[in-house]
Amino acid sequence: MSKRAVDMTFQAIYTLTDLRILLRETAPSHEFDANQKAQVQRLLENLERQVGSLKQEILK
């Protein structure tokens, strides 16, 4: 396990935490406006990248 893998693990959790906050701010309907949709899109892309890097680090 590398430092990079540990960093990626934390970063992925933090990205999900940002998503969690968005769910709180939009409860109970979770209907996103245009800005929030863009934010969700960005967060999910980051998450995919972080999980991808994590896979590379852990499974190499």
């Binding site: 934390f10 959790i13 933090y14 935490t17 940002d18 969690r20 906050i21 769910l23 709180r24 701010e25 939009t26 409860a27 109970p28 309907s29």
Partner: protein, 393 residues
């Protein structure tokens, strides 16, 4: 979904708008959540503890800086973090109150202030609130005189809640402190509903101590809080240990007895620290919070038979309402009895009202978005209409 050992993953704030009166200001910021994940281990903040080996001196993470910043922000001279506001009350009461000493509280004081006085051996004497549920300087002066007559001396300490937990009313702390100081009575301000919610200036209030609650109003995990003091009082409450062991001759450096050595540690402390920049900022925008509260209050008051028991217009978002003449009338014949209101609210994605309460209850709109406030307002009037209550437009 479970976290572990049968503990449900709590998703209350993700699935609902939570208007629980005591939970609103303690919801974590994203930064606090992230920090709590990183610092959940027991002694996590102590990795870099160096001489003089006291938690509030640690610079990595920047705990020492946080203490200085909070003191400056509150316009006080010294701050310690404590495991909840009640431990701040306790530290101050233990310093000033001896057995049989009269202590000034109010008829709206939080019970933990009473317990702090009791533990120190003091005798509680309450300033009565007015019919408007406000504690006034005149009432404080009258009570001090009454205590003087009863005990032959003035109270040794005065507790004043800036915003009380029962009505969420804002009291004239500055006026009361001025009166108390004319009798040389130190004043501790309970800011559990204000520190972290709205601007608090200790010097402007003229108080000796201000206590804040991390988990109630500073977006921090429980139990957390702060105790701030003036320079004069700092020396008294934050005095350092003088005890010496007779066998080992041990001394304990600059540890403070009232703080039991080191202060708040771990996830609670770093959670409060991580939220602090956001908390400082949000206090500057309390007007937005009041506006959201107004939207909800106007909707509630449009339901015939509903009254606001708190001062109105509101100066705080925690509010006590009387729905004996509206929602409670429905409860008399509803198959779910008093539980229908909570049930109807939950169907609309709202939680935090005491189950079964339809007479007198409290709610807090703090931290809601405008859209959420509008949803709350619409939901209350819809529930009223659905149950045959008259709603004015």
């Amino acid at each position: 979904m479970r976290c572990g050992n049968g503990i449900e993953a709590r998703q209350v704030n993700e699935l609902f708008i939570n208007i629980d009166p005591i939970q609103a200001g303690g919801r974590l910021t994203a930064d606090a959540m992230k920090t709590v994940i990183a610092y959940g281990d027991g002694y996590s903040v102590c990795d870099n503890c160096r001489k003089p080996n006291r938690l509030d001196y640690i610079t990595k993470p920047p705990i020492a800086e946080f203490h200085r910043d909070v003191a400056k922000w509150l316009n006080m001279d010294a701050v310690r973090t404590v495991p909840g506001a009640r431990r701040g009350f306790q530290a101050v009461a233990q310093t000033y109150v001896n057995k049989g000493d009269p202590v000034l509280l109010t008829s709206l004081s939080h019970y933990t202030e009473f317990l702090a006085v009791e533990e120190a051996g003091g005798v509680a004497r309450e300033i009565p609130a007015s019919d408007q549920k406000l504690v006034t300087p005149d009432a404080a002066a009258a009570k001090i005189e009454a205590v003087k007559k009863e005990f032959g001396r003035v109270p040794v300490l005065a507790f004043i809640d800036q915003v009380d937990y029962q009505y969420g009313n804002l009291h004239d702390v500055a006026g009361i402190a001025k009166i108390a100081h004319q009798y040389d009575i130190p004043v501790i301000c309970n800011g559990a509903y204000t520190v972290g919610i709205l601007p608090v200036d200790g010097k402007a209030l003229g108080i000796d101590f201000v206590v804040g609650s991390g988990h109630k109003s500073m977006a921090a995990p429980a139990p957390s809080g702060i105790l701030a003091a003036t320079a004069e009082r700092e020396r008294e409450v934050f005095r350092t240990t003088a005890i010496v062991g007779d066998v080992t001759n041990r001394k304990f450096g600059i540890k403070e007895p009232e703080m039991m050595g080191c202060t708040l540690m771990g996830a609670t402390l770093v959670g409060m620290m991580a939220s602090f920049p956001h908390v400082k900022e949000r206090t500057k925008h309390f007007d937005r919070e009041l506006e959201n509260n107004r939207i909800v209050m106007e909707a509630l008051l449009s339901i015939e038979g509903t009254a606001c028991l708190s001062e109105y217009p509101r100066k705080h978002t925690m509010t006590r309402v009387d729905t004996t003449g509206s929602f409670d009338k429905v409860a008399e014949s509803h198959k779910k009895r008093g539980y229908y209101l909570q049930s109807a609210l939950e169907e609309k994605g709202i939680t935090g009202v005491i189950p079964g309460a339809t007479k007198v209850w409290k709610f807090n709109t703090y931290g809601t978005t405008r859209k959420q406030a509008e949803h709350l307002a619409k939901s209350f009037t819809e529930i009223a209409r659905e149950n045959g209550l008259a709603v004015s437009s």
